[in-house]
Symmetry: C2
Subunit: 183 residues, 2 copies
DNA sequence: CCTGGATGAGACATCCGTGTCTCATATGGG
DNA sequence: CCCATATGAGACACGGATGTCTCATCCAGG
């Protein structure tokens, strides 16, 4: 019988990614459990969202580890990062819009850590002469988030193929829209 | 006494941009009117959001007109567009996250028109050999939205200066993060 | 077989936001 | 000056979502 909290979180994430205003009852149904049991594991919607936030942070950290940001060229590291983070893009897009989390003062410190790791990657690319220096690492990081949200939206709306997700984002982020003669 | 609906909408947009879950009562207070009067002008939260959506669309259309997308190089047109749309970026970011509007089937057709106009700009740039052709106009359009949302967020959070808004977005969108030898 | 823990179903009270109403007040034009 | 109109303040009921509780059921382990 024992309900798997992980499975519940996955189901909740999948549902809330599509319908961010879903009821606790809908979340319970989506997870295949009753509302009572859902409330036994996550005391209220707030706790559920916090748990989802922790899950999203954990998946981001895992993607950051998997991408081995310190190895090889910064460009390749960005490419690996986007590829590794793609499965979590839907959840991240949900959390991104759940700005309730960022309006209060009790925002999870995990995001700052992630920001720092990604910013460090862009900084490494700048110091290595790979990336241009007139765009700040903070902006490049934020832009990466925005592009991933846009990419997730494009795929979700059916206007783009999931297999193009990584290519679209990385090519635009690194190469830009302008056509080049060389390279 | 006559309340200016335009002013109410501006105040509502400013508040909802910061706190998307604001109550009708909070919106009324922000606009300096009573909740009763607010409800006399906009019959319910839904109507208010629709009015904001219409305002956002109108501002987008105005920015599109002002940017004269058909004139000069596509790159310069993009640059003008971002500059012209900047004042509305906060409102657009709010509407962007108000995905409630897009979950139903009754989404405002105005967005499609705007999408088409921007897509046409990118397509013009591709046909003219100015933009690369391996990124679809639909993706470039969506990416522009995402970058504007990220830029608005960066400015709002104090991590970036408003004066850099246009430069950050246009440079990244067109030029990408990679450092170039020429140009 | 039996017992304890976990779950499902449902009832119930509560809170919050909303929509609606009334009444007093103030403003501006005739 | 008088009256129509708009506004502000507040009361009131409604609905939806939530939190909490009880009880029956089911399954696993002893």
């Amino acid at each position: 019988m024992a309900v798997d909290p992980e499975h519940v979180l996955r189901a909740a994430a999948a549902l809330l990614t599509r319908k961010s205003t879903a009821t606790m009852d809908e979340v319970a149904k989506a997870a295949g459990i009753s509302r009572a049991t859902l409330h036994r594991h996550f005391a209220g919607r707030d706790a559920l969202v916090r748990a989802l936030e922790a899950l999203g942070i954990a998946e981001c950290e895992a993607a950051l580890d998997e991408a081995r940001l310190d190895e090889g060229s910064a460009s390749d590291a960005v490419r690996r990062l986007v590829g590794a983070i793609e499965p979590a893009a839907g959840l991240l897009a949900f959390l991104y819009t759940e700005n309730q989390l960022f309006e209060g003062e009790e925002q999870n410190a995990g995001w700052a850590t992630i920001d720092d790791r990604i910013s460090a990657l862009f900084r490494r690319g700048q110091l290595g002469g790979e990336f241009r220096v007139d765009l700040t690492p903070a902006w490049l990081t934020e832009a990466l988030y925005g592009l991933m949200a846009s990419g997730a939206w494009l795929v979700h709306s059916g206007k783009g193929a999931p297999k193009d997700f990584q290519h679209m984002i990385v090519e635009l982020l690194l190469g830009g829209a302008l056509r080049r003669e060389e390279s």
